[in-house]
Structure formats: C-alpha cells, structure tokens
C-alpha cells in the first residue's frame, strides 16, 4: 500500500462519520471526485469505474470473475474500503437471494456529473469575472502560503525546551493568529506550561506533527479544526436544545475538497459561496490555504497548500515517497515540480551526514535548526551552518518524545544535501550512509522492548464456527493482529466492520 500518511489520517476521520453524513457529502461532485481520486487503492478504482455506468445492480459473485484467485485478499480489502466510505452497497446475505452490489446513488450521480460536466452545481468553484491584480501571481501566492505555514511551525518549534546553543533560536515575529494558537492547544500539539518562553510546551503529537511532510501537516491541522467546529456546535446545540445534526462540518469538509479541485493562480468569486463557507474564509486565510487581497474581498485565491490537498503522492512529497526518491538517487531538481510551498525552502537539501555520524547542516533557518536539534546533538554554530552528531542519547531522547527512527531517517533523506545526492548517484549507493541508517534503527530497537497495538480483544465465542468465520473475515479486511485458534480468541485493530459482519451473520441465520 502506498497510501501517503495524510490520506491515512483523513481516512480515520472519514471512517468515523455516519452514513447520512456521507450521503450529504456525496451530493457535491467535487467531493465524490476527490474521494475517488485520493482515497481509493487502484483495484477499488477499477471496481468503481466498472460499476459507474451499470444500469442495474451486479451479482457479488460475478466480481470473482474479474479478480484472479490469488487476489482475493486485495479484492476484499478494496470492497471493505469502498464500504466504509459508503461508496458501494452490498445487499445482506439471504437464503433465497444472492448478494448484489451497486454504487450508492449520490456517489454515482455526483461522480458522473464530475466526469461529464454539466449541471448547475458550481461544485468546482465559480471563477471571478472581476479584473485580477497582476501582482498576484503564483510566486506571490507561494510566498504568502509559505510565510503563513512557517509561522505556525515556528510557534510549535519554539515551544521546544532549548538544548545547547542550536535549538529554538529566534522567535517568529508575530506568529500565527490567536485562533490558530488555540487550535494547536485544543489539538494538544502544544500544551500550556509555565517553564517555557512562550508559556506553552510541545507535546508528543507536536513532535510527530513537525516531522510530517507539509501535506500531512495541513490535513492534521484541518481535521483538528473540523473537530473543534463539531465540538463547539455540539455545545451550542445543547444550550439551544436544537437536535439538529452538524451540517456545518459536512459543508466545511466538502468545501475543503472543492478548494483542492481549484486552479492555482486563478481568482474565484467569494459571493458565490454559501454563508458557512464564507465564514470559513478568515480561518483559511490564517492557515495560508487561501489568499484574499486586502483591497478587494470579492475574490479569493487558493494557494498551493489548498490545491494539493487531495492530489496523489506525486504532487505532494510524502515522507515515504520522499525517502524512496532520495534512496533511489533521483536528482533534486524534480522536487521543484511537486512540492508544496511550505516545503519549497526545505526541499533544497542542506544536510550532510558522514559515516562517523557527524552532521553538517547548511542552514540558518531557526525552524530547520530547531527540528534538527530534536534528534541531533548540535555542537557548533557558524554563519549559515551548524554541526553536530547523531548519538545514542540524542536518538533515544527523540524516541522518548515519540519520534520514530523511520521519521528521522526519512527526514534526513528528504533533506540530504545536493552533494550527497550527487555523490550517491555517481557511485550508485543510497544517499544516507547505510551504517548510520542501520544504527538509528538499532538504537530504536534497543529502546523499544515491546510493540504496542491499540484495538479490541474478541473472546467468548458461542461456537467454534463463529470464531473461525469472524477471525477469517478480520484477516481478509486486514485488521487481524493476533489470533489463537486453540484459545478461540483474536485481537483486531478495528471493530466497526466486524460488528456489522456479526450482525448481518446473525440476521442471515
């Protein structure tokens, strides 16, 4: 599975939503299209495309003809994803009728509309007809988005307790808006602490956030924001005793999907938006996802942070693909095509690592130095360069913060200096010295005495058959972590679909 981490978090959020929410979400062609484009593995896309213009439901058994026998696992996983996103409906197994499969109505209609065009849904944004200020070009938008996003990262980084001379130097002038700070606090990326300079301290989640690539960071923040909106809505609802479910966060989410389908560098019409969406604009401006000219608020411009929200790993450098790209010696110049604005300054590699664990970083950015100081023992600082060393203690400390060895390695690989990339390409070796990579992993291993997986223990089955059926279903949809046939118990990482399966099994009996 090559799903980038940001889609993973988004899918976690989506999986928790009820079916009615999905029905509303899929009324928008842009949402259906974004989900199709971003969230589905290849096989699931093939199924959706085949089902899209089928006039009547298809027999589930016919699906077996499409998939080779050894691909049963992938087939079940694809179906399970499609089901959890409420894209397909499968009739429950009955004695007299075979199971049938079809796309859900709203998703089908919206995806058709998205592909064929037409309709008056204005779901892909309404371009502004007003003249556009020529100064607002793509470079301007990139600069703007980078500035906004770095302010947010600075705020998180500056809450790191300072070690030695390298860490956390300089404080971002101004920093993000108070609303953004509150959001970071509410999302527990930072927490209030009196012993640090800014009155806040970074949390474990905050460290993980810092080392994510920009696309994943944006989604993390946006999902925090959606959850915060749901939360405040629920509180208001209690006071007003209004039993209305939360249409706001649905509209917010589909607006984000719409932003992702817009064109960079183009002006869009603010007046064509619904009131909920207009209310979202100030916050999106604070995050740097859109730009609104001060003198003319009738236009808004999506920035690169917004337009790459749902594009694939090719457009956003994910941690894993960045690592793969760096280790397979792709030269650095491809990065300028696809990276986000916030990534752009750091995508020019600046780190040199030697086989003796010495690190030389050609940077004077306090943000990059502070991130480096999370897992490096920095020794000296010069104009435009810092030097340090990876040590057992520095890596152990980082792991204590909740950073993983893989995150460190991929960060180093993604930010390796051009020289290292070139030398590696010339000799056909990986960018990072293998000894260093192995040692970082070993340091993590010796620190991790146990592996933990959150989930659910299933036990006390009525019959061995029931155990066998549920256990093999769990294995097929990929949630089985541990099982004991002897003790008739198993451990699964998720339970929603298993519960549904049990229910439908009970009904069929």
């Amino acid at each position: 599975m090559s799903l980038a981490p940001q889609s993973y978090q988004l899918s976690d959020y989506l999986e928790k939503l009820p079916g009615t929410t999905f029905r509303k979400l899929y009324q928008q062609p842009s949402t259906a299209f974004a989900i199709f484009r971003r969230m589905l593995p290849a096989l699931a896309k093939v199924f959706v495309q085949a089902l899209l213009y089928m006039p009547s439901p298809m027999l589930l058994s016919e699906l077996d003809v499409w998939v080779r026998a050894e691909g049963k696992m992938q087939r079940d996983r694809a179906l399970s994803i499609l089901r959890s996103l409420h894209i397909i409906q499968i009739t429950p197994p009955g004695k007299d009728k075979p199971q049938e499969l079809q796309l859900t109505t709203n998703f089908k209609n919206s995806l058709r509309l998205a592909l064929e065009g037409g309709g008056t849904h204005s779901s892909f944004g309404v371009p502004s007809t007003l003249p556009v200020d020529p100064r607002i070009d793509i470079a301007h938008l990139d600069n703007y988005a980078r500035k906004k996003w770095e302010d947010i990262l600075h705020y998180v980084v500056n809450s790191v307790p300072v070690h030695g001379e390298g860490g956390g130097a300089g404080s971002g002038a101004g920093g993000p808006k108070a609303s953004v700070k509150d959001l970071l606090l509410a999302g527990r990326l930072v927490e209030r602490r009196s012993d640090t300079r800014g009155g806040v301290g970074i949390t474990q989640a905050g460290f993980t956030f810092l080392l994510q690539e920009a696309g994943a960071q944006v989604w993390t923040l946006l999902l925090l924001w959606l959850e915060a909106a749901d939360h405040s809505k629920a509180q208001q609802g209690q006071q007003a005793a209004a039993a209305e479910s939360k249409p706001d966060s649905i509209d917010m989410l589909s607006f984000l999907f719409m932003l992702a389908s817009l064109e960079l560098g183009r002006a869009y019409d603010t007046d064509a938006l619904t009131e909920t969406r207009r209310n979202m604009l100030p916050a999106l401006v604070d995050f740097g996802l859109i730009y609104i000219p001060r003198e003319d608020t009738r236009q808004y411009f999506p920035t690169r942070l917004a337009t790459t929200l749902t594009s694939g790993a090719s457009a956003l450098r994910s941690v894993s693909s960045g690592f793969a790209a760096a280790t397979t010696n792709t030269s650095g110049d491809t990065s300028s095509l696809g990276t986000t604005a916030a990534d752009a300054p750091s995508s020019k590699g600046f780190i040199i690592i030697e086989t003796n664990y010495r690190v030389y970083a050609y940077t004077s950015s306090p943000l990059q130095i502070a991130v480096l100081a999370l897992f490096t023992q920095l020794n000296m600082r010069f104009a435009g360069m810092v030097t340090g060393r990876l040590t057992r203690d520095s890596i152990r400390r980082a792991i204590g913060f909740g950073i993983t060895a893989d995150q460190i390695i991929s960060y180093l690989a993604a930010h390796a200096h051009e020289q290292m990339v070139r030398a590696a390409a010339a000799t056909g070796r990986p960018v990072l010295p293998p000894t260093v990579v192995d040692q970082i992993r070993l340091w993590q291993l010796e620190n991790e005495r146990m592996r933990t997986t959150a989930g659910f223990l299933f036990k006390d089955f009525d019959t061995p058959d029931e155990y066998a059926a549920l256990c093999s279903y769990a294995e097929e949809i990929g949630v089985l972590v541990w099982k004991s046939d002897r003790r008739k118990m198993f451990f699964a990482s998720k339970m929603e679909q298993l519960r549904d399966y049990l229910k439908s099994r009970k009904k069929a009996e």
């Binding site: 030097t387 146990m450 959150a454 989930g455 659910f456 223990l457 299933f458 006390d460 541990w482 004991s484």
Partner: protein
C-alpha cells in the same frame, strides 16, 4: 456471547513479559488478558505508566555509552 474488549496488544520477549506480569501482580491493574509467551492485552490508560515502570526496571541493565574520541 462474543465480547470485544478495548485494550492494547503488547508484543515482547518472554523476559520482558515476565517483568510485566510481575509489575501487574502488585495491584492487578494492568493486564486484561494474558495471551501467550510473547503477547498480552493491557489497559489502554496504563500503557504509559507501564512503559515508565519498565524503563526504570531496565535502567540498571543498560551499558553506559563509551564516549567516542572526537576532534571537532
């Protein structure tokens, strides 16, 4: 009737497992189910405490790092 119990699955060496079992024996407030030699399910809210206790217990067995000769 089948039951689903929320918890955290821990996978570790038998030696580590026996330490966890020993830590649990004081109050029986950690382990939900002892699965086999290398697996057990513990309460979600106790994982952090458990890691801390385990770290303390293992501290004496760590070799201190020999300082590398360095000429920065």
């Amino acid at each position: 009737m089948v039951r689903a119990i929320r918890g955290v699955l821990i996978e570790c060496e038998p030696a580590i497992k026996s330490i966890i079992v020993h830590l649990d024996s004081a109050n029986n407030d950690i382990i939900i189910e002892d699965l086999d030699e290398q697996h057990l399910v513990v309460k979600e809210n106790m994982v952090h405490v458990l890691k801390q206790k385990l770290e303390d217990r293992l501290k004496e067995t760590y070799r201190p790092e020999e300082p590398l000769a360095d000429s920065d």
